[in-house]
Structure formats: structure tokens, C-alpha cells
Amino acid sequence: MLKNITLGQYYPVDSVIHRLDPRVKILLTMAMIVAVFLVRSLVGYALLLAFVYLVSRLAKVPFRLIIKGIKPLRFILILTFLLNLFLSAQGNILFQWRFITITDQGLRQSIHYSLRLVFLVLGTSLMTLTTSPIQLADGMELLLSPLKVIRFPAHELAMMMSIALRFIPTLLEETDKIMKAQMARGADFESGNLLRRAKAMIPLLVPLFVSAFRRASELAMAMEARCYHGGEGRTRLRVLKLTRPDLWASLAVAGLIALIVLEGIVLPKGWLL
């Protein structure tokens, strides 16, 4: 029933991209997001697409899996496109019918905005597909740790994140089990109106909360039994070290950004959008 849910969307294979330092991957993804906003023409988007494709090949992640990440966004995309198309009044009028006006600038804007959204999603899924949630939490912790100076709880935040992630599959399994146990007692989770269905969730939610609290207190006890006392002076099993490929990856992204900036300067304004 709930068996087919994969956690996040991590695609577990071994590749150069997977082995990159998570800190570098987070920073490069952020850089790429900035690059998306620098694009001035379709040539720039073509460059980005080529880059995403190249990285997906290097990461051994099927390209269509990355494209599939856009699917949940399709309504927002369509909405963005239409809103920009119809609500922009500046520029030369291309088409007019009663109160509907489409201008060339409006068209340009709507194409830009929707493509930006698409590439934001592509860029971030590239990261989440190739970085396990635990690695992501690790990377975030290290990137945020300079903020400890102003008492920002970087370690605690990362620990909470990894614990939460760790417990998602456990709680899903638990939900499945309790659901089945109540169904064995004739519970019906599927039919009835909204109110009846909400009421039918009580036999599921109460045991689930009870068990979540029990697990939380057991985990806290187990952590204390192993002398956990926060991030102070804590060393790590997997020490993150920058390696050669991290350098190459950074250079590649830097090159990409340079190309995109160049494209904005060199190509005459209005050429291909």
C-alpha cells in the first residue's frame, strides 16, 4: 500500500557526480540558480539544457527521470505562462481581442519566467537525485557552521533534519501496519464523505502518535546512552574533503556562468527573445 514510496528522490548509483562533496554540490546548485536568472536568450537556455544533460550522463541518472521532476509543476508553469502573457501591457501589441491583449514583451516575459522555473527544478533535482538526504544534511551543517558565531544552531538543525529523514520510512511502515490492523477490525478508510473519512483516521492517527512519541523517547535514551551531548567537539565518521573532481565541477559551473554572461553581452538585444 505505502510500499512504493521512495525517500526523497535519491537515485542510488555510484558516479563521479554522486561522489562530489555535498557542500560543493549545494553551492554549485545555488550558483546555477543564479545563472538561470542571467540568461538573456534561448541560446542561454540551450546551454543550460546541454549542461544538465551532460551532468545527468556523468551521474548515470536517466535524463527522463530529471525531466519527470517538472511534472508536478505543470499547473504552476501554465499559470505563470498565462498570467505573464495576459497581464503584461508594455511593448508592441501582437494580438488584441476585446479585453485580451498580447504584447511582444509579455510573450517574451512569459517564456522567460516559465523556462526559469523549469531550470530551477532541473538544477535542484540534479542535486537531490545524486546526493543522499543524509549527505545533504551533513553538507548543510558544515555550510551553516560559520553562523554558530551568532549562536545559530547549525548542528542541532542538521541532526533534527537527519533524524526526521531517518524516521520517514519507519513511520510509513508503521502507518501501513496500523492501517492493516484496523482494517482487520473492519475499519473502512476508503468510502464515505469527507467528515466520515476524517473520523475514520482517528483509529490510525492515535496509535501512530503514541508510537512516534515512544520511538522519540527511546531514541533520545539510546543517544544519551551513547554519550551524545550535542555538536561540541564531535568528530565525524565520513570526513568531507575537497578532491580533484570538486575542483573540476566548480570550474565547469564557472565556465557555464561565464558563457551565459557572455551570451548576454555578445548577442544583440532581442535576438532569439
Binding site: 492493516k180 482487520a184 475499519a187 496509535p207
Partner: protein
């Protein structure tokens, strides 16, 4: 009411990287009035098998017939059939959710759409069967009871639906010896009153004492069925399946190896005691 599994195969996460075959071509008939023990190593597919008996899981291939009716046929009311086969999960106390014991036990009968009087009668009778004093426990919160008491409340919740077949997945796991004996005693009583019982167990001693038939599973396959006597006499097969024969049988074996004249095929402590005291009396007449 008989339950028949016909060439049941169950595959988890078909078509993904996590695909695993939990059951492979299992054919087994649960006869009316028997006490069937299902044994096997951890992860051999017992719990998966048990969830097929009341249609919570659908076989990937094969059929489950309840009274000759295909459980996953087109015009079958699965909820109705589910109530005829009461399934007690592992650690059933984790499914308790109501404010009071009586309300929790009433959950099943309520879902069956019974009247208030009938529900009340069933709650009282289920509590009596599980040795829970109505006066003392009915109005208490299930969350303030001990583990063993909670377990009995949970089983009472299934019994209140008055199923013809009771299926229990390791009903004694995690209980102290007293709580265990209590549950097993209750199961024996229920069986004597005519309820068909299927019990998953890791304790061969319990199986030897209670079961009328044993089914042995290993790696998703059914590798042997028979009376406890038949199954436990095949020690090699049991050990290959990652199981042991009952303690009493092993004691009996080593006594025989040391020359104590005991007959073959003693599997319970009670039997062993009878024979040993008979031998003692022979050797020390007076």
C-alpha cells in the same frame, strides 16, 4: 469454514530495484477446527502469508479461497469475509486507540454494524474469554494497562467480532512467562470450543503443546506440513529451515544416547515427565 491457498505467490515492490519474492507457490488448506502452527526463521514469509488469509494482501499470482469463494473475485465483499477471519497482528497492543477498554473492543463489532445490545454482549463475552474482569477494566484507558493486559484487550477486540477462524502472528512475543502461559491457555480454551486457530510462533515448545498440525516455511516456501510428531521427527529438515526441535525432544534424545530407555517421539515436557517418573518407579519399587 475452510481457507485454501492455491499456488499463492507474493512479490513485494514488483518492477523496482527492491523487488523481493516473499511467498513462492504456496498451497495450503486450513481445515475447520484445527490448530495450525506456522513456523519458520525470521523473514521466511510467515507474516506475509498470514495477511493473505483475510485478504489484506493480494497474491501476485494464485488464489485464496474462503469456503470455496475466491477472496479476490469480482463480487466478493472482502470486508465481510475479513470479519470471519480474525487476524491478530504482531504486537497488537500498538493498535489500541480508544478512551476506554470497552470502547476499543467495541470498534470491530461497531464496524460490523451490530446493534448496541449485541455490541455490549460481545464486548462482555470477549473480555470474559480473555480473562479481563469487566467491572475492573471496562472503563479504564487502555494506555494505563500493563503490556500483557493491553495485549489481551487487543485480542479481545478481534474476538468480539466472533470470527470463525482466529489467526495470530506471534501472540506471545515480548511477554513474560506468566503472560505467555495466560495467552496460550486462552488459545487452548478457544480451540476446544471449536474456533479454528492459526498461530505463527517461534517457540517449538508451545507448538508441540498446542498445535494439531504444523506448517514449516523457509525462504518463502512451504517445506513441510504434518502433525507435530511427524514434523519434529525430521530433525534435519527442521535444522535446515533454521529451526530447532522442542527442548523436551532434545533432552529426550540426549538421555537416550546415554542409555535411558525412553521411546522415540516425546515432544512435550508433560510426556517426558510421565515416562521418566514411570522409569523411576520401576527402578525404585517401594
Amino acid at each position: 469454514m475452510s481457507i485454501e491457498l492455491r499456488n499463492v505467490t507474493h512479490v513485494y515492490a514488483e518492477g523496482s530495484a527492491f523487488r523481493s519474492v516473499a511467498l513462492e507457490d504456496i498451497s495450503l488448506t486450513i481445515e475447520d477446527g484445527e490448530f495450525l502452527a506456522l513456523v519458520g526463521h525470521t523473514g521466511c514469509g510467515k507474516s506475509t502469508l498470514v495477511q493473505h488469509l483475510n485478504g489484506l494482501l493480494k497474491p501476485s499470482s494464485g488464489q485464496v479461497l474462503v469456503d470455496g469463494q475466491d477472496l479476490h473475485g469480482e463480487h466478493v465483499n472482502r470486508r465481510l469475509l475479513r470479519m470471519k477471519v480474525g487476524l491478530v497482528f504482531q504486537y497488537p497492543e500498538y493498535q489500541l486507540f480508544e478512551e476506554t477498554v470497552a470502547k476499543d473492543i467495541a470498534f470491530g463489532p461497531k464496524n460490523m454494524g451490530l446493534g448496541a445490545d449485541e455490541i455490549d454482549r460481545r464486548v462482555r463475552s470477549a473480555m470474559a474469554q480473555m480473562h479481563l474482569d469487566y467491572q475492573k477494566y471496562a472503563e479504564r484507558s487502555p494506555f494505563e494497562l500493563s503490556g500483557g493486559q493491553m495485549r489481551r484487550v487487543a485480542i479481545a477486540g478481534i474476538l468480539a467480532m466472533e470470527p470463525q477462524t482466529l489467526v495470530l502472528d506471534e501472540p506471545t512475543a515480548g511477554l513474560d512467562p506468566h503472560g505467555r502461559d495466560r495467552i496460550l491457555g486462552i488459545l487452548r480454551e478457544l480451540h476446544e470450543k471449536g474456533t479454528t486457530i492459526v498461530m505463527v510462533s517461534h517457540s517449538m515448545d508451545d507448538v508441540a503443546r498446542l498445535a494439531t498440525r504444523v506448517a514449516v516455511m523457509s525462504h518463502g516456501k512451504l517445506i513441510a506440513t504434518g502433525t507435530p510428531r511427524e514434523v519434529f521427527s525430521r530433525q534435519d529438515m527442521m535444522e535446515n529451515a533454521g529451526l530447532r526441535i522442542p527442548e523436551a525432544a532434545r533432552l529426550c534424545q540426549s538421555l537416550r544416547q546415554r542409555g535411558v530407555p525412553l521411546p522415540d517421539g516425546l515432544f512435550t515436557l508433560e510426556e517426558l515427565r510421565t515416562h521418566l517418573s514411570a522409569l523411576w518407579r520401576e527402578a525404585h519399587p517401594c
